[in-house]
Symmetry: C2
């Protein structure tokens, strides 16, 4: 998100979901909103190395359950987390956008604006949610590739 988000936004967000405003939670929200790509669990852990690992896992699963963030696995099966932009409710996510995983920088981009085309499944399959994944080069890495 290029937009600067302020702490009281996060505090409101936590309030709304009946979650206590704690330092670790605010820091996680702040870190994730300061990036334009999803944040991997290893990243989160190394940046917030003063916060206990278990606490981080609990914060992440609480946020995910409340519909504040959503989880995406990248090419290597690593968990990445990004703020939900759509109005995701407790237990019901609506993050049916494209996830672009750059093979160079490994970043995962949420392309929220890209709406999925209609899919019709074989008989018997009852879909609940779709996600489209793409791999390739992100704008930064494709630019670099041209220069060389």
């Amino acid at each position: 998100m290029a937009q600067t988000l302020h702490n009281f936004h996060f505090e409101d967000l936590l309030n709304k979901h009946h979650l206590k405003k704690t330092a670790p939670r605010l820091r996680v929200l702040s870190m994730m909103s300061s990036r334009n790509t999803a944040t991997s669990q290893p990243d989160l852990e190394s940046v917030m190395n003063d916060i206990d690992r278990v606490t981080l896992y609990r914060i992440l699963s609480a946020f995910e359950e409340k519909g504040i963030i959503h989880k995406v696995f990248d090419l290597n099966g690593t968990a990445n987390y990004a703020l939900c932009t759509s109005n995701c409710d407790e237990g019901h996510h609506h993050d049916e956008h494209l996830h672009f995983n750059c093979t160079q920088c490994k970043n995962v981009y949420c392309l929220n604006d890209l709406q999925l085309p209609a899919i019709n499944l074989p008989v018997g399959f009852v879909p609940q949610a779709f996600t489209l994944y793409a791999t390739g080069l992100c704008p930064k890495c494709s630019k670099k590739a041209v220069k060389q």
Copy 2:
């Protein structure tokens, strides 16, 4: 695959890729071809508990590299493996089909016949491959749901 595949098919397959025909490899191929869903790493490990874990990992990554199988992460980030049906080459996969993950039985189905619609990405993103994921109820589980 409902079709019964015979051992000599697997032996030919291994030959083609310059892989030695060993008992563990043949058993992995046999197990995977006997199922109509992808096989999870935990499943593989518990069924083949007499084969060393490391050997299984090495077989899986060799097969994946050769384009014999492809890897899919399910909802929980667990690795699942399925035989490639498209002509996948060494290092180049073409498994751009839909992966359906049943929320009930947790099985991952490769819906090979379902071709992906065209997607146009924002400027700068250079795609290499796409995968479409869906979650929901598979035919078996949706049938059970109706009965209750």
